[in-house]
Each structure stands twice: as C-alpha cells, then as structure tokens.
Amino acid sequence: MIKPLSQWSPIALNTLNWVVMFGSVALCALALPLRLPGMELTGIGPNWLLIWVVAWSIKRTALQAVWAGIALGFIQDGLTAPYPTHALGLALVGFLTARLQKQRYLEEDFISVALIVFGMAVIAETIMALQFSLLNSPSAPPLAEIWLHHQQAALSSAILSSLWAPAVYYPLNLWWERLNWLEQQS
C-alpha cells in the first residue's frame, strides 16, 4: 500500500513535485501535434504549453514565471522551428500572469483562469506575428498576410486554449495547493 501523502518525507514530496512538473510539461508538449475531434478550429489546436505557463505563473513570482516561459518556449521551438522563437512570447505571458493583481481584480476560479488564458493566447500570437514581421529575409511572407493569419490564429487559439485551460489548471492547482498545505503542516 502507498502511504498517505502526509506521512511522506519532505525529500520524497519534493521529488514527486518535480515528477509531476516534468510529467505535466511532457504531456502538454506531446498534446501539441495531436488533433482530436473537438480539439481543433480551422486546423488550429489549443496551445497546451501556454496553458501550462499560465497555470504555473498564477501563484508564483515573475522570475519563476519568466523562467518557465523560456524553458517551455524552447521546447516548442524544438517541436516546430527555432526562428522566430516561441520563448519570447511565453516568457512575456508568464511575466504578465505573475504580475496580474489577481487577488484585487479576479477571483481564483476556472472562469478567471480561462479569461487570463484567452488574453495571454492573443498576446503570445501577437509576439509571434511581430517577430515574423521584423524578420527581413526574402522568403518571409508579406506583412498583410502575416497579420491576416494572426487574426485567425489568435482568435482560434484563444478560444480553444481558454476552453481547455481547466483541464490543465485544475489538476495542477489541486496538486500545488495540496503540497503547500502539507509543507505548512510539517
């Protein structure tokens, strides 16, 4: 039998926390190339890594959030192409989420998390579009097309990501709250 979490040693708890973190990031990254029915809108799926960054950053410092954004951005770069980088957008998303005065303006619930994800998805896509616009290479697409695609990508991504946000946020938040509680007990 597995012992209840409250009897685990702090080191074991910490290890489990890192396993949960890396495991959830891996799951989000693996979900990116997947397109299941109900998970796509005009060929665009939810941005799972962005949802993870928001879930991570909500109760953490700006520095931790930016670090997570950069790391997950690098992973997404690896899965697509490294230039322009996704790390910039996700780092900004983490920073803004961490700095949001949530206790003042927003309640801690699914609706507000979905709202934050909606806004952050638009910001992340905008950063990508800006980077594409600033590339000066002969094969870069023309500005008008980039921003037309940006509208479509930002809207679809924002809608889908915010709808799927609770699926990532709920279990992670539950785990981190539980962990916090256990640490305060001991």
Binding site: W18, L30, P33, G43, I70, Q76, A81, P82, E125
Partner: protein
C-alpha cells in the same frame, strides 16, 4: 559572507534544478525535440491511420491522374518537337503514416511515423493522393518532420499545365496558396491544373499541386492567382515519400 552562505544553503537545490530544467529545454531545442517526438510516436502508435475518408482520397487521386495525363500529353508533344530534351524519370516511393500536425499556429508542418532508420532523408519529396504535399526538413530515428507547401515560407516554382506559363507559388496556410506571375498576362483560367516547374530546385518537375480557383490581374504590378491545393492535407493519413536522389535535393533551411 555568512548571509551568502545561508542563501546558498537555502536555494542551492532550487537553483540547480532550475538550471537543469533550462538546460534540458535548451538541449531539446537544439536536438529539435527528437526524443519527445519519438515518445509521441510510441504513445500514438495504437491510434495511427485507419481506413476512413477513402472516397475523398480516391476522388483526389482520380483528378490527379487526369491532370497527370494531360501534363504528360503536353510534355510528349513538346518532347517530340524538341527531341534532345531529357526525359523525367519517375522515382520509387515509400508509403509512410502521418502521426502528427503542426505544434504551433504559424508553421504548417506534419510529423511522419518513419525516419532515418527507414531510409528517409532531409529534402525528400512528400506526396499524397492528390499531389505534392511538401518536403522533409527534419529526421530522427523513427520520425520525420515535413514542411508543407501550404506554409507561408515555402516557395515553389510552378507552371500552369495548359499554357506552360511560369510563376512562384507561396503557401497561405490551410488549403490555399497564391501564385505570383512574372508576366502581365499569364494566361491562367479558373480550373487550370498547376504543376511544379522544371526550374524548381527543391522539387522534381511535373508534380501536381492544385487547381486555379480565381485569377486577379487588375493590379498590373502584381498579377496573381489563388490556387486550391489538390491534396486534402487535413485528411491525409498516409503519404508517399520519394527517396531517390533524382527527385530530391538536400537544400534545406530551417529559417524562413
């Protein structure tokens, strides 16, 4: 000094783990997440490609054959007129399952379930029922990544198969692409078949790409036509990869 020591004792673990995490992510970026995408292939193995959407594929294939026939007839005429023109050899292809789509909203990519171990190489040409799909830009041991022709950064020299006029095709995400012509009157009509041109350096000539949907010649500085790509990319579950050196060149750049 004492406070520094205390700080170090307190944050040592967190700091080293944070650095480890960042280093892992950087490593994945450099290896193009090969390990991760291999794991993805293993997990999705039971769900890969079934026999659905056959009919659409057959329709597309029929249309492709019709267009190929028209293309060959015209080529034949030209060859007869110009007897020393070299004849294009048809390569041998391998059929490969599609296991994933683009991992973001900007790159139009596809992940295939075969890789280096099966002889796939960077630059290999990928086709599907309906015509050209793209070319391989990344390979790992058992997976490979395809940059689709619908990606906005991919440019292909194309020919209108009826009038033999040339242009440059640029992807527009989704199943549309745009052709920019060099001449003011390119003689293109809706319904015309579009094939890769003999001037294309990345693709062999004569591969079907799509059909002209609308032509806009109102701007004399920028005559262009919208093309509907004939391979139904979002439904494709199997593609054919051409391996021989004659039909592929390893001229590949990752950045746009």
């Amino acid at each position: 000094m004492y406070s520094l020591n205390r700080w170090w004792d307190r944050y040592r673990l967190q700091l080293s783990l944070a650095l480890l995490g960042l280093a892992t992510a950087w490593f994945m970026r450099h290896t193009h997440s090969a390990g991760l995408i291999e794991l993805y292939r293993l997990i999705t193995l039971p769900f890969q490609a079934d026999q659905t959407q056959q009919e659409r594929l057959i329709n597309a294939r029929t249309w492709e054959l019709e267009q190929q026939l028209a293309e060959l007839e015209i080529q034949n005429q030209k060859l007869q007129a110009l007897i020393d023109q070299p004849i294009v050899a048809q390569g041998k292809g391998t059929v490969v399952p599609v296991i994933g789509r683009s991992a973001d909203h900007w790159w139009q990519q596809m992940t295939l379930g075969r890789g280096r171990q099966d002889g796939l190489k960077i630059g290999a040409v990928v086709t599907a029922p309906g015509g050209l799909v793209g070319r391989i830009t990344q390979v790992s041991d058992h997976t490979s990544r395809v940059l689709l022709i619908s990606d906005p950064t991919s440019r292909i020299g194309v020919t209108i198969s009826r009038s033999r006029r040339m242009g440059v095709l640029r992807g527009q995400a989704g199943d549309r692409a745009i052709i920019e012509f060099y001449e003011k009157d390119p003689d293109a009509r809706p319904g015309d078949g579009i094939v890769t041109s003999s001037l294309s350096s990345l693709f062999p000539p004569g591969l079907l790409i799509g059909r002209v949907e609308s032509v806009d010649l109102t701007k004399t500085s920028n005559p262009h036509a919208i093309v509907k790509l004939s391979a139904p990319v979002s439904d494709i579950e199997w593609v054919t990869v051409y391996l021989d050196d004659q039909t592929s060149k390893s001229v590949v750049s990752d950045s746009p």
